[in-house]
């Protein structure tokens, strides 16, 4: 690791002691729509993050220069692997595997689409949500769950990294 990369890494990790002024965006937050389609048991996830946060975290994780929107290199497998390590679903202690579908850019946001298949009898999931927490300690991750007319929101952050999510009322 040359001096420059090392400096960059230190910079990344020291980021955000105080939120001040008009920074790149004004808050470190993600939101994830999570919809259960009752007829098919499909769990549809749409994760919305700031592209520059994602870029910064991928750089920190891989130690490489990463540029998103437009991508300079293939990033889907990198993103999929990262998300696997920070977004974990389980039911009755059994992990549920997430399928990464792809991503889209909307202005300064990246929308990431994922899905999972849930068994019929399942009524509660457990979600461990540690998105960006290692790099951005003040990161807040919102989750909005929806199934038909049933809705529930959750806030994950450094203090709250794991929560049960009731999926059928």
């Amino acid at each position: 690791m040359n001096l420059q990369t090392m400096f960059k890494k230190i910079g990344l990790l020291f980021i955000m002691l105080l939120t001040m002024g008009f920074t790149l965006h004004d808050v470190y937050i993600s939101s994830m729509k999570m919809e259960l389609i009752p007829t098919s048991g499909e769990l549809q996830l749409t994760l919305q993050v700031f592209t520059d946060d994602l870029e910064l975290v991928l750089q920190s994780q891989s130690g490489e220069e990463i540029q998103l929107n437009p991508d300079r290199q293939a990033t889907n497998s990198l993103i999929a692997a990262y998300l696997k390590s920070v977004l974990k679903f389980s039911a009755a202690k059994t992990p549920i595997s997430l399928e990464y579908l792809g991503k889209e850019y909307h202005d300064d946001l990246t929308l990431i689409y994922m899905q999972a298949k849930l068994a019929d009898e399942m009524s509660e999931l457990e979600l461990t949500h540690q998105l960006f927490l290692s790099e951005l300690p003040t990161q807040q991750n919102l989750v909005h769950f929806k199934s038909d007319s049933y809705r529930k929101s959750f806030l994950f952050d450094a203090r709250m990294q794991k929560s049960p999510i009731r999926i059928r009322p």
């Binding site: 105080l18 920074t23 808050v27």
Partner: protein, 768 residues
């Protein structure tokens, strides 16, 4: 049967139910207070007085304090320290006697033991990176904050003072009377922080490749707190989010820096000839009259040549600034410097940029042009820019505003390439921060209390300016057709306004106490103003009122009510409902189409009329002559023949009436309408909004109708409207152009359109 005189209207069944069903309820309900969405804002607004009028203008007794500074500053680049000695002249224009003064010590937020460091809750993380662990549990905090060496009166006597966190009270030997003046001096120094690693507004960036620093220095000197008619002393502590409340005054500043540094600061440079090289001075003079493109004063080659040589000599840059609320500066030997003249009304203003080579090639291309665009557009909507210059300084990852000068991000990759995202982000932030000269530098609102008054108004103006930039520089935004503004368009605020209510605060909240400051103080108020301008008031009424506000409060201190009141006072549009909903609550817009019922004129009373009459123990014979009967298409009494023939053919009463009164009826239509619809609009959302509806007809034509917001006055949940037409209705769409920030558009059309979710659309796209 007096009551029957009421029912001389054709749509008997529709209109009369309300009149006839006024029977006493079985149980008496309790009373209630006024919770109407249109309730006047008398309880929220303070009572107008001689300082601030009910029209939203400064009153006859309006006053503000004047604070003038003379400062000698020295930047010690080697040891990253800043030294200062300032003499303050405080003029008490208030009618009150002051026995003490409050001075703001913003740098104290960086003291090792600053309470601000502990303002947020923290939780234990069972898993942490080694570096985070070291930072949290082993690192010494930065040794920042002011070292106050002396506070002395004009004759050199030490003045007693007491520091409370970021505020310092100076106890006066004798009170300052109304109209009185007081001179005193403060001598101080502090350790300058790295603003990149600490994410601060002020400090330096370190460049490890060449060992240089670029300083962007602000809120760096003890500054007088504001004393006024609404706050008394505004000494709300600085916690980091709420920005500043400051007085207007004149500044004379002598700034000593290493001799090879290039400096920009608030104010007019007094000694360019003395401080610049002969060549630099020549270019500087040329720039003053160059209006078409920026003139480079210090080139990239010249700046790079200085990087390796660290001068031991010093130079003093002298600045004078008139009628500003603050002073800030930037200094580095790495700076490239360009400027061009811009004509703003009758004045010539310099648009200036300062950036290290790391900002190029992006900065030389766009920075000064974005500054010029901001001056042009903002001046058009408010007042002509009154200062001699506006400077954009490159800072790695922050944007922050001060009078005449601001820091902006936007750094290309190391090889000089940059993405559109970096470019648009940079242009946006420059427009935004230069725009802050208008709000709050000149229209000087209290940022410590109300973040939205400058951020919201500025973000709104930023949107208009970005769009204009796109028009003026089409090659800069190609292949896009419009500048990709991040905020302003109503649809952009929907994710925030539809979010979990426990993480949303009303706009009228202190910036320290909100969950999501960005959408709360920037995005939502900007969108609200945009909707007000484009959809509710119309551009002419809005622009006149907005300009009135800016001009009434130029170089003064407005409050939120001064803004709200002026917008109504200058437009004759009652907006209490709008401020109440958008600014004082977290309600959101959700309006939908409930049901659409079709009616025909019928030769005889239908079942509904029979039932109604029965309720009152009447028969159709009791009704007067010439009644028109309507039957719903889904009613038992409906017969297909009703649809087949015209209203006149269906109703002898109607035919008779028209023939008898032919001369008196002013008929533009010779035929009565053929189709009658009753459309029910529902409002699951708490916000009231004008009802914008597009009706589509079987012949392919459409019609736009906007029902005024007042339709919700008497029923906040739903309202019905009747549409009488000769064309068959095939569709109803609410808010077809998405101009109201409706959070749920799945109920916006009839017949209900089954829309594929965004998720399904994406899946289909990747499969295709």
């Amino acid at each position: 049967m007096r009551i029957l005189t009421y029912v001389q209207v054709p749509l008997l069944a529709l209109f009369s139910v309300a009149l006839w069903s006024q029977e006493a309820p079985a149980e008496r309900e309790g009373g209630h207070t006024n919770s109407n969405k249109f309730k006047q804002l008398y309880e929220e607004f303070s009572t107008p007085n001689r300082f601030r009028t009910a029209s939203g203008a400064p009153g006859v007794d309006y006053y503000q304090q004047q604070v003038d500074y003379v400062m000698d500053l020295e930047l010690d680049d080697k040891n990253t320290k800043l030294y200062g000695e300032e003499t303050i002249t405080y003029t008490n224009n208030s009618p009150d006697v002051l026995t003490y003064l409050w001075v703001q010590l913003d740098q104290n937020i960086r003291k090792k033991d600053a309470p601000a460091l502990e303002k947020n809750g923290s939780g234990f993380q069972p898993l942490a990176r080694a570096s985070t662990f070291v930072k949290n549990y082993m690192d010494e905090p930065f040794d920042g904050g002011f070292n106050i060496e002396s506070v002395t009166s004009a004759n050199g006597q030490a003045l007693p003072y007491r520091i409370n966190q970021t505020m310092m009270r100076i106890d006066l030997p004798s009170p300052i009377l109304p109209g009185g003046q007081y001179h005193f001096s403060i001598k101080w120094w502090y350790n300058v922080n790295n603003h990149v690693t600490n994410r601060a507004r002020s400090g330096y960036e370190y460049f490890p490749e060449d060992g240089n620093r670029a300083y962007v220095i602000a809120q760096f000197f003890p500054r007088m707190a504001v004393y006024n008619d609404v706050e008394g002393w505004q000494n709300y502590q600085f916690w980091g989010n709420g920005e500043f409340a400051l007085n207007f005054g004149n500044y004379e500043v002598n700034l000593t820096v290493p001799a090879d540094h290039i400096v920009e600061a608030t104010g007019q440079l007094q000694n360019p000839k003395e401080i610049l090289s002969r060549e630099e001075f020549k270019r500087y003079k040329k720039a003053q009259n160059t209006f078409d493109s920026p003139v480079i004063i210090v080139t990239q080659d010249e700046a790079e040549a200085k990087e390796a040589v660290f001068s031991d000599k010093k130079k003093t840059w002298r600045y004078v600034a008139k009628n500003v609320r603050d002073f800030a500066f930037a200094s580095s030997r790495k700076f490239i410097w360009d400027m061009m003249a811009v004509q703003v009304g009758p004045r010539k203003v310099m648009a200036v940029s300062l950036y290290p080579k790391e900002g190029n090639p992006l900065w030389e291309e766009y920075s000064t042009r974005a500054v010029a665009q901001s001056l042009d557009t903002y001046s058009k909507y408010t007042f002509n820019y009154p200062y001699p210059k506006a400077v954009s300084v490159h800072a790695k990852n922050q944007g922050m505003e001060y009078p005449m000068i601001c820091w902006n991000y936007g750094r290309p990759n190391e090889d000089g390439t940059y993405s559109d995202r970096t470019k648009f982000g940079m242009i946006s932030v420059i427009i935004h921060e230069v725009g802050h000269n208008y709000f709050p530098m000149i229209v000087n609102s209290d940022e410590r209390q109300w973040g939205w008054m400058d951020e919201g108004l500025d973000t709104f103006m930023q949107y208009l300016t970005e769009q204009q930039f796109g028009v003026n520089y089409p090659e800069a935004i190609a292949p896009l057709e419009a500048f990709p503004s991040r905020r302003g368009a109503p649809s952009k605020i929907v994710p925030y306004m539809s979010g979990d209510q426990s993480f949303i605060s009303p706009i009228m909240s202190n910036p320290e106490n909100v969950f999501q400051l960005g959408p709360n103080a920037y995005g939502k108020p900007a969108t609200a103003l945009n909707i007000l301008r484009e959809t509710i008031m119309g551009k002419e009424l809005f622009d006149y009122a907005f300009k009135t506000y800016a001009q009434r409060w130029i170089f003064k201190h407005p409050t939120p009510e001064d803004f709200f009141r002026t917008m109504e006072d200058a437009s004759a549009v009652d907006l209490d409902w709008f401020w109440r909903g958008w600014f004082y609550s977290t309600d959101y817009v959700d309006i939908g189409v409930g049901s659409v019922k079709k009616y025909y004129v019928s030769p005889k009373p239908g079942k509904e009329v029979d039932e109604l009459l029965e309720q009152y123990n009447m028969t159709p014979e009791d009704l007067p002559e010439n009644m028109i009967y309507m039957v719903a298409e889904d009613s038992e009494s409906f017969e297909p023949s009703m649809a087949a023939s015209s209203a006149i053919d269906n109703s002898q009463s109607l035919r008779n009436y028209i023939e008898e009164n032919n001369a008196e009826i002013d008929r533009t239509n010779t035929e009565p309408p053929k189709y009658f619809y009753e459309i029910e609009f529902e409002k699951p959302g708490g916000l009231v909004m004008p009802l914008i509806v597009e009706y589509s007809y079987a012949d392919g034509s459409t019609e736009r109708v906007t029902y005024p917001v007042q339709v919700w006055r008497k029923n906040d949940a739903s309202v019905r409207k009747v549409l009488a037409t000769n064309k068959e209705l095939v569709g109803v769409t609410i808010d077809p152009d998405e101009e109201t920030a409706d959070i749920d558009t799945s109920n916006n059309s009839w017949p209900k359109e089954e829309q594929a979710s965004d998720f399904d659309k994406f899946k289909a796209k990747i499969k295709g």
